[in-house]
């Protein structure tokens, strides 16, 4: 399910089946290393939407949790945990994070962290890109599914 009006209708109706929130963690910066941050964030959102397509009926893909590069790690962790608690209070049994930022550490967080390897998609030709995305998606899928059971 995506963060759209049409999908939210389904969410309201089928609440008991939708027990997993997927939260992309995306870093923002406009000063230095913007391109790396954007590339990472783009990949995360691309994969998140791919996974959402396959697990539509159980996974709610939320708008990304964004944070500035200049925020300290403690602030980010604290803020993210507030989000996580809110989500759990609203009935999400599982909260999955998806990120390409290696700053995050699962032990400090209330949910399950999935860190993606950074893939320089822009330098690949399309066929290879698709193959890469498919591979990563299926890896993510199987780890999501094994986390459910």
């Amino acid at each position: 399910m995506k963060w759209t009006v049409s999908d939210v209708d389904m969410y309201e109706k089928e609440k008991q089946y939708i027990d997993t929130a997927l939260l992309p963690l995306v870093q923002l910066t406009l000063s230095n290393a913007t391109k790396t941050a954007v590339a990472g964030g783009e990949l995360v959102q691309l994969l998140a939407s791919e996974v959402e397509r396959q697990l539509k009926g159980r996974l709610f893909l939320l708008p990304p949790f964004t944070y500035f590069l200049t925020e300290t790690k403690e602030e980010c962790v604290k803020r993210l945990n507030v989000w996580t608690d809110e989500l759990k209070k609203s009935g999400m049994a599982h909260v999955f994070y998806l990120t390409s930022d290696r700053m995050w550490n699962e032990t400090e967080l209330g949910g399950k962290l999935f860190v993606l390897p950074s893939i320089p998609l822009e330098h690949m030709d399309e066929v290879y890109q698709q193959q890469m995305v498919r591979e990563q998606t299926s890896k993510l899928l199987s780890s999501f599914i094994s986390h459910w059971t």
């Binding site: 389904m10 089928e14 089946y17 939708i18 397509r53 697990l55 539509k56 009926g57 899928l141």
Partner: protein, 169 residues
């Protein structure tokens, strides 16, 4: 032909011209309206674009997944929507192309993914199951069989169209 017979009075002349011009104007106004009213009949059945998906010789009796792309236009946003199909041949050699979208909440089903229930389609979200022909297994969450794609075979290639609920395709 005498001159007399050809005489046209001023009144007649004006009558003719006015009817003529008026007729043209009325036709100009009515034509688009008539066309508009008849439009649903005249419009061609929006050709469901069939997409080449696979070589027929690659299709076996075991369901295989084929990915393809369909052009969709959603308001001002045009995109290639990725789709998949589970394709196999049944005992009679007919091709069956099933949509992988679970009829419960729309997850993607997989063939033979659950060890305890082999030779079935399995939905990982809420453990819905379907038999090989797409019929939902009673007692699992889905309430309808998997959709089937319209298909045609041309020059050894399989073309798929729209996915339709069973009974319609």
């Amino acid at each position: 032909m005498s001159e007399k017979k050809h005489r046209v009075s001023r009144r007649q002349f004006l009558n003719y011209t006015l009817t003529g011009v008026g007729g043209f104007m009325a036709a100009g106004i009515l034509m688009p309206m008539v066309r508009f009213a008849l439009d649903p009949i005249l419009r061609e059945e929006e050709a469901t674009e069939m997409v080449a998906v696979a070589q027929v010789k690659d299709i076996t009796t075991e369901p295989q997944r084929f990915d393809f792309k369909v052009k969709v236009k959603d308001a001002w946003y045009e995109a290639d929507e990725p789709k998949s199909a589970w394709v196999y041949k049944d005992e009679k050699g007919n091709i069956i192309a099933l949509s992988p979208i679970c009829k419960h909440l729309g997850c993607t089903v997989n063939w033979n993914a659950d060890e305890s229930h082999p030779n079935q389609f399995f939905c990982p979200c809420h453990y819905g199951r379907y038999t090989k022909d797409g019929t939902n297994v009673p007692g699992t969450p889905p309430l309808a069989p998997l959709d089937r794609y319209e298909y045609k075979v041309k020059d050894g290639k399989l073309y798929l169209g729209k996915a339709k609920p069973r009974g319609e395709a």
